[in-house]
Symmetry: C2
Subunit: 140 residues, 2 copies
DNA sequence: TTATGTGCAAAACATTTGCAGGAGT
DNA sequence: ACTCCTGCAAATGTTTTGCACATAA
Protein backbone atom coordinates (compact mmCIF):
# COMPACT_ATOMS: atom_id res chain seq x y z
CA UNK A 1 0.00 0.00 0.00
CA UNK A 2 1.55 3.28 -1.14
CA UNK A 3 1.11 5.75 1.71
CA UNK A 4 1.91 9.43 1.97
CA UNK A 5 4.57 10.27 4.55
CA UNK A 6 3.06 10.69 8.02
CA UNK A 7 0.30 8.20 7.22
CA UNK A 8 0.72 5.21 9.45
CA UNK A 9 0.12 1.62 8.45
CA UNK A 10 -2.32 0.43 11.08
CA UNK A 11 -4.02 -2.93 11.42
CA UNK A 12 -7.36 -1.23 10.79
CA UNK A 13 -6.17 0.23 7.49
CA UNK A 14 -4.68 -3.02 6.28
CA UNK A 15 -7.81 -4.99 7.03
CA UNK A 16 -10.19 -2.42 5.56
CA UNK A 17 -8.21 -2.49 2.32
CA UNK A 18 -7.92 -6.29 2.29
CA UNK A 19 -11.64 -6.72 2.76
CA UNK A 20 -12.45 -4.18 0.07
CA UNK A 21 -10.11 -5.96 -2.34
CA UNK A 22 -11.80 -9.29 -1.71
CA UNK A 23 -15.05 -8.09 -3.12
CA UNK A 24 -16.38 -6.71 -6.42
CA UNK A 25 -19.65 -5.44 -5.05
CA UNK A 26 -18.87 -1.75 -4.36
CA UNK A 27 -19.87 -1.90 -0.71
CA UNK A 28 -21.14 1.05 1.29
CA UNK A 29 -19.19 2.19 4.35
CA UNK A 30 -21.54 0.22 6.55
CA UNK A 31 -21.06 -2.94 4.51
CA UNK A 32 -17.28 -2.52 4.78
CA UNK A 33 -17.77 -2.04 8.52
CA UNK A 34 -19.66 -5.34 8.74
CA UNK A 35 -16.99 -7.16 6.72
CA UNK A 36 -14.13 -5.76 8.78
CA UNK A 37 -15.89 -6.30 12.09
CA UNK A 38 -15.72 -10.07 11.59
CA UNK A 39 -11.95 -9.78 11.92
CA UNK A 40 -11.69 -6.73 14.19
CA UNK A 41 -14.80 -6.78 16.35
CA UNK A 42 -13.92 -3.62 18.29
CA UNK A 43 -13.33 -1.35 15.28
CA UNK A 44 -15.49 1.78 15.24
CA UNK A 45 -17.67 2.86 12.34
CA UNK A 46 -15.96 6.26 12.48
CA UNK A 47 -12.61 4.62 11.83
CA UNK A 48 -14.01 2.90 8.76
CA UNK A 49 -15.39 6.18 7.41
CA UNK A 50 -12.20 8.09 8.19
CA UNK A 51 -10.00 5.54 6.48
CA UNK A 52 -12.13 4.97 3.41
CA UNK A 53 -12.22 8.73 2.93
CA UNK A 54 -8.47 8.99 3.43
CA UNK A 55 -7.68 6.15 1.01
CA UNK A 56 -10.00 7.70 -1.57
CA UNK A 57 -8.18 11.04 -1.26
CA UNK A 58 -4.86 9.27 -1.58
CA UNK A 59 -6.09 7.45 -4.68
CA UNK A 60 -5.65 3.93 -3.28
CA UNK A 61 -9.37 3.29 -3.68
CA UNK A 62 -12.29 4.94 -5.45
CA UNK A 63 -15.22 6.64 -3.78
CA UNK A 64 -18.28 6.20 -5.98
CA UNK A 65 -20.71 9.08 -5.86
CA UNK A 66 -23.50 7.19 -7.51
CA UNK A 67 -27.23 7.61 -7.09
CA UNK A 68 -28.95 6.31 -4.01
CA UNK A 69 -28.45 7.47 -0.46
CA UNK A 70 -25.03 6.04 0.35
CA UNK A 71 -21.56 6.44 -1.06
CA UNK A 72 -19.87 3.24 -2.25
CA UNK A 73 -16.24 2.20 -2.38
CA UNK A 74 -14.23 0.30 -4.96
CA UNK A 75 -10.73 -1.15 -4.77
CA UNK A 76 -10.48 -1.16 -8.59
CA UNK A 77 -9.11 2.25 -9.44
CA UNK A 78 -8.74 1.84 -13.22
CA UNK A 79 -11.40 4.00 -14.91
CA UNK A 80 -14.59 2.12 -15.62
CA UNK A 81 -18.33 2.72 -15.65
CA UNK A 82 -21.15 1.43 -13.49
CA UNK A 83 -24.73 0.30 -13.66
CA UNK A 84 -27.09 0.63 -10.73
CA UNK A 85 -30.28 -1.28 -10.06
CA UNK A 86 -33.05 1.19 -9.33
CA UNK A 87 -34.90 -1.51 -7.46
CA UNK A 88 -32.33 -2.93 -5.02
CA UNK A 89 -29.56 -0.31 -5.26
CA UNK A 90 -26.87 -2.82 -6.27
CA UNK A 91 -24.00 -1.38 -8.32
CA UNK A 92 -22.09 -3.47 -10.90
CA UNK A 93 -19.20 -2.65 -13.18
CA UNK A 94 -20.13 -2.35 -16.83
CA UNK A 95 -17.52 -3.13 -19.42
CA UNK A 96 -18.00 -0.31 -21.89
CA UNK A 97 -14.82 1.29 -23.24
CA UNK A 98 -13.91 4.46 -21.37
CA UNK A 99 -14.26 7.57 -23.52
CA UNK A 100 -11.32 9.62 -22.37
CA UNK A 101 -11.71 12.04 -25.31
CA UNK A 102 -14.98 13.53 -24.13
CA UNK A 103 -13.13 15.24 -21.30
CA UNK A 104 -11.39 17.39 -23.92
CA UNK A 105 -14.69 18.24 -25.58
CA UNK A 106 -16.10 19.16 -22.19
CA UNK A 107 -13.11 21.38 -21.47
CA UNK A 108 -13.58 23.21 -24.77
CA UNK A 109 -17.26 23.99 -24.36
CA UNK A 110 -17.35 24.71 -20.63
CA UNK A 111 -15.66 27.21 -18.40
CA UNK A 112 -14.52 24.43 -16.13
CA UNK A 113 -11.11 22.97 -15.64
CA UNK A 114 -12.28 19.43 -16.39
CA UNK A 115 -10.94 16.65 -14.19
CA UNK A 116 -12.84 13.66 -15.53
CA UNK A 117 -16.23 12.09 -15.96
CA UNK A 118 -18.26 9.14 -14.87
CA UNK A 119 -21.11 7.29 -16.56
CA UNK A 120 -23.77 5.65 -14.50
CA UNK A 121 -26.32 3.46 -16.23
CA UNK A 122 -29.53 2.68 -14.43
CA UNK A 123 -31.69 -0.35 -14.88
CA UNK A 124 -33.23 -3.35 -13.21
CA UNK A 125 -30.90 -6.19 -12.32
CA UNK A 126 -31.56 -9.81 -13.07
CA UNK A 127 -32.55 -10.74 -9.51
CA UNK A 128 -35.02 -7.90 -9.35
CA UNK A 129 -36.66 -8.73 -12.69
CA UNK A 130 -36.76 -12.45 -11.81
CA UNK A 131 -37.84 -12.58 -8.18
CA UNK A 132 -38.16 -15.96 -6.51
CA UNK A 133 -41.49 -16.92 -4.97
CA UNK A 134 -40.27 -16.09 -1.46
CA UNK A 135 -39.11 -12.66 -2.59
CA UNK A 136 -42.46 -12.04 -4.28
CA UNK A 137 -44.17 -12.90 -1.02
CA UNK A 138 -41.94 -10.46 0.87
CA UNK A 139 -42.83 -7.63 -1.51
CA UNK A 140 -46.61 -8.12 -1.08
CA UNK B 1 -48.71 21.04 -15.50
CA UNK B 2 -49.77 17.53 -16.54
CA UNK B 3 -50.95 15.75 -13.42
CA UNK B 4 -52.01 12.17 -12.89
CA UNK B 5 -55.63 11.76 -11.86
CA UNK B 6 -56.05 12.11 -8.08
CA UNK B 7 -53.12 14.49 -7.88
CA UNK B 8 -54.39 17.85 -6.78
CA UNK B 9 -53.20 21.17 -8.05
CA UNK B 10 -52.28 22.98 -4.88
CA UNK B 11 -50.76 26.40 -4.42
CA UNK B 12 -47.64 24.78 -2.97
CA UNK B 13 -47.14 22.60 -6.04
CA UNK B 14 -47.64 25.47 -8.46
CA UNK B 15 -45.18 27.70 -6.69
CA UNK B 16 -42.53 25.00 -6.23
CA UNK B 17 -42.66 24.31 -9.95
CA UNK B 18 -42.67 28.00 -10.90
CA UNK B 19 -39.63 28.71 -8.76
CA UNK B 20 -37.77 25.69 -10.12
CA UNK B 21 -38.52 26.81 -13.68
CA UNK B 22 -37.16 30.29 -12.99
CA UNK B 23 -33.71 28.97 -12.35
CA UNK B 24 -31.02 26.99 -14.20
CA UNK B 25 -28.91 26.21 -11.16
CA UNK B 26 -30.15 22.71 -10.22
CA UNK B 27 -31.07 23.66 -6.66
CA UNK B 28 -31.15 21.26 -3.73
CA UNK B 29 -34.41 20.68 -1.86
CA UNK B 30 -33.30 23.18 0.76
CA UNK B 31 -32.55 25.81 -1.86
CA UNK B 32 -35.99 25.29 -3.40
CA UNK B 33 -37.44 25.62 0.10
CA UNK B 34 -35.69 28.98 0.55
CA UNK B 35 -36.90 30.21 -2.84
CA UNK B 36 -40.48 29.12 -2.23
CA UNK B 37 -40.56 30.43 1.32
CA UNK B 38 -40.24 33.98 0.05
CA UNK B 39 -43.69 33.61 -1.48
CA UNK B 40 -45.21 31.07 0.92
CA UNK B 41 -43.57 31.71 4.28
CA UNK B 42 -45.47 28.97 6.12
CA UNK B 43 -44.65 26.11 3.75
CA UNK B 44 -42.94 23.17 5.41
CA UNK B 45 -39.69 21.60 4.27
CA UNK B 46 -41.45 18.22 4.23
CA UNK B 47 -43.95 19.53 1.70
CA UNK B 48 -41.12 20.65 -0.56
CA UNK B 49 -39.44 17.24 -0.35
CA UNK B 50 -42.72 15.38 -0.88
CA UNK B 51 -43.66 17.41 -3.92
CA UNK B 52 -40.24 17.44 -5.57
CA UNK B 53 -40.17 13.66 -5.17
CA UNK B 54 -43.69 13.34 -6.53
CA UNK B 55 -43.01 15.57 -9.53
CA UNK B 56 -39.84 13.63 -10.26
CA UNK B 57 -41.75 10.34 -10.21
CA UNK B 58 -44.38 11.84 -12.49
CA UNK B 59 -41.69 13.03 -14.87
CA UNK B 60 -42.55 16.74 -14.62
CA UNK B 61 -39.07 17.47 -13.28
CA UNK B 62 -35.76 15.63 -12.98
CA UNK B 63 -34.15 14.46 -9.77
CA UNK B 64 -30.38 14.57 -10.21
CA UNK B 65 -28.49 11.93 -8.30
CA UNK B 66 -25.14 13.59 -8.72
CA UNK B 67 -22.11 13.50 -6.47
CA UNK B 68 -22.10 15.46 -3.25
CA UNK B 69 -24.35 14.98 -0.26
CA UNK B 70 -27.62 16.39 -1.56
CA UNK B 71 -29.96 15.54 -4.39
CA UNK B 72 -30.64 18.32 -6.90
CA UNK B 73 -33.67 19.14 -9.02
CA UNK B 74 -34.05 20.35 -12.58
CA UNK B 75 -37.09 21.63 -14.44
CA UNK B 76 -35.44 20.82 -17.80
CA UNK B 77 -36.44 17.24 -18.49
CA UNK B 78 -34.90 16.82 -21.94
CA UNK B 79 -31.90 14.45 -21.61
CA UNK B 80 -28.64 16.30 -21.03
CA UNK B 81 -25.43 15.90 -19.08
CA UNK B 82 -23.94 17.80 -16.15
CA UNK B 83 -20.66 19.06 -14.80
CA UNK B 84 -20.06 19.49 -11.09
CA UNK B 85 -17.49 21.69 -9.38
CA UNK B 86 -15.57 19.58 -6.89
CA UNK B 87 -14.71 22.73 -4.98
CA UNK B 88 -18.07 24.49 -4.45
CA UNK B 89 -20.51 21.73 -5.46
CA UNK B 90 -22.22 23.81 -8.15
CA UNK B 91 -23.80 21.81 -10.98
CA UNK B 92 -24.09 23.18 -14.54
CA UNK B 93 -25.54 21.75 -17.71
CA UNK B 94 -22.98 20.71 -20.29
CA UNK B 95 -23.94 20.76 -23.93
CA UNK B 96 -22.48 17.50 -25.16
CA UNK B 97 -24.70 15.45 -27.51
CA UNK B 98 -26.58 12.72 -25.68
CA UNK B 99 -25.41 9.24 -26.67
CA UNK B 100 -28.67 7.32 -26.69
CA UNK B 101 -27.01 4.37 -28.45
CA UNK B 102 -24.83 3.35 -25.53
CA UNK B 103 -27.91 2.19 -23.66
CA UNK B 104 -28.29 -0.55 -26.26
CA UNK B 105 -24.65 -1.55 -25.87
CA UNK B 106 -25.12 -1.65 -22.12
CA UNK B 107 -28.21 -3.83 -22.50
CA UNK B 108 -26.28 -6.29 -24.67
CA UNK B 109 -23.33 -6.76 -22.35
CA UNK B 110 -25.09 -6.66 -18.99
CA UNK B 111 -27.80 -8.71 -17.39
CA UNK B 112 -29.75 -5.57 -16.63
CA UNK B 113 -32.87 -4.25 -18.19
CA UNK B 114 -31.28 -0.89 -19.02
CA UNK B 115 -33.37 2.23 -18.41
CA UNK B 116 -30.89 4.97 -19.26
CA UNK B 117 -27.64 6.59 -18.32
CA UNK B 118 -26.24 9.81 -17.05
CA UNK B 119 -22.82 11.40 -17.51
CA UNK B 120 -21.40 13.61 -14.82
CA UNK B 121 -18.21 15.52 -15.52
CA UNK B 122 -16.24 16.84 -12.61
CA UNK B 123 -13.97 19.82 -12.58
CA UNK B 124 -13.27 23.18 -11.05
CA UNK B 125 -15.58 26.03 -12.05
CA UNK B 126 -14.43 29.43 -13.15
CA UNK B 127 -15.23 31.15 -9.86
CA UNK B 128 -13.31 28.56 -7.90
CA UNK B 129 -10.20 28.73 -10.12
CA UNK B 130 -10.33 32.56 -10.14
CA UNK B 131 -11.12 33.54 -6.57
CA UNK B 132 -11.48 37.22 -5.75
CA UNK B 133 -9.24 38.68 -3.08
CA UNK B 134 -11.99 38.56 -0.47
CA UNK B 135 -12.64 34.89 -1.24
CA UNK B 136 -8.92 34.12 -0.96
CA UNK B 137 -8.93 35.75 2.45
CA UNK B 138 -11.90 33.64 3.51
CA UNK B 139 -10.16 30.41 2.52
CA UNK B 140 -7.02 31.18 4.52
C1' DT C 1 8.81 9.69 22.88
C1' DT C 2 5.41 11.89 20.37
C1' DA C 3 2.47 12.77 16.64
C1' DT C 4 -0.99 10.21 14.53
C1' DG C 5 -4.80 6.97 14.87
C1' DT C 6 -8.62 4.60 17.33
C1' DG C 7 -13.01 3.63 19.87
C1' DC C 8 -16.85 5.55 21.58
C1' DA C 9 -20.53 8.58 21.79
C1' DA C 10 -22.55 12.68 20.50
C1' DA C 11 -23.40 15.95 16.83
C1' DA C 12 -24.49 17.33 12.30
C1' DC C 13 -26.94 16.83 8.11
C1' DA C 14 -30.24 15.29 4.67
C1' DT C 15 -34.43 13.15 4.17
C1' DT C 16 -38.72 10.80 5.57
C1' DT C 17 -42.84 10.14 8.19
C1' DG C 18 -47.03 10.33 11.58
C1' DC C 19 -50.64 12.91 12.59
C1' DA C 20 -54.23 16.43 13.30
C1' DG C 21 -56.10 20.03 10.95
C1' DG C 22 -56.77 22.34 6.10
C1' DA C 23 -58.12 22.65 1.32
C1' DG C 24 -59.04 21.05 -3.63
C1' DT C 25 -62.51 18.77 -6.34
C1' DA D 1 -68.45 15.57 1.84
C1' DC D 2 -64.57 13.03 0.96
C1' DT D 3 -60.05 12.53 -0.09
C1' DC D 4 -55.84 14.15 -0.56
C1' DC D 5 -52.47 17.52 1.10
C1' DT D 6 -50.03 20.49 4.38
C1' DG D 7 -47.45 22.15 8.45
C1' DC D 8 -45.21 20.75 12.21
C1' DA D 9 -42.27 17.99 14.78
C1' DA D 10 -40.25 13.87 15.65
C1' DA D 11 -37.85 9.95 13.67
C1' DT D 12 -34.54 7.87 10.60
C1' DG D 13 -30.39 7.06 8.14
C1' DT D 14 -25.78 8.45 6.85
C1' DT D 15 -21.62 10.71 7.76
C1' DT D 16 -18.66 13.61 10.67
C1' DT D 17 -16.40 15.00 14.85
C1' DG D 18 -14.49 15.75 19.82
C1' DC D 19 -11.98 13.67 23.06
C1' DA D 20 -9.29 10.56 26.08
C1' DC D 21 -6.58 6.65 25.43
C1' DA D 22 -3.66 3.59 22.42
C1' DT D 23 -0.01 2.69 19.20
C1' DA D 24 3.18 3.04 15.05
C1' DA D 25 7.41 4.96 13.96
Amino acid sequence: MQLPPQMRLTTQRQIILEELEKVTSHPTANEVYDMVRKRLPRIGLGTVYRNLELMAETGIILKLEVGGTQKRFDATIAPHYHIRCVSCGKVDDIDIPVMAEIDKTAAEISQYQVLGHHIEFSGVCWSCSNPTEEEETLVN
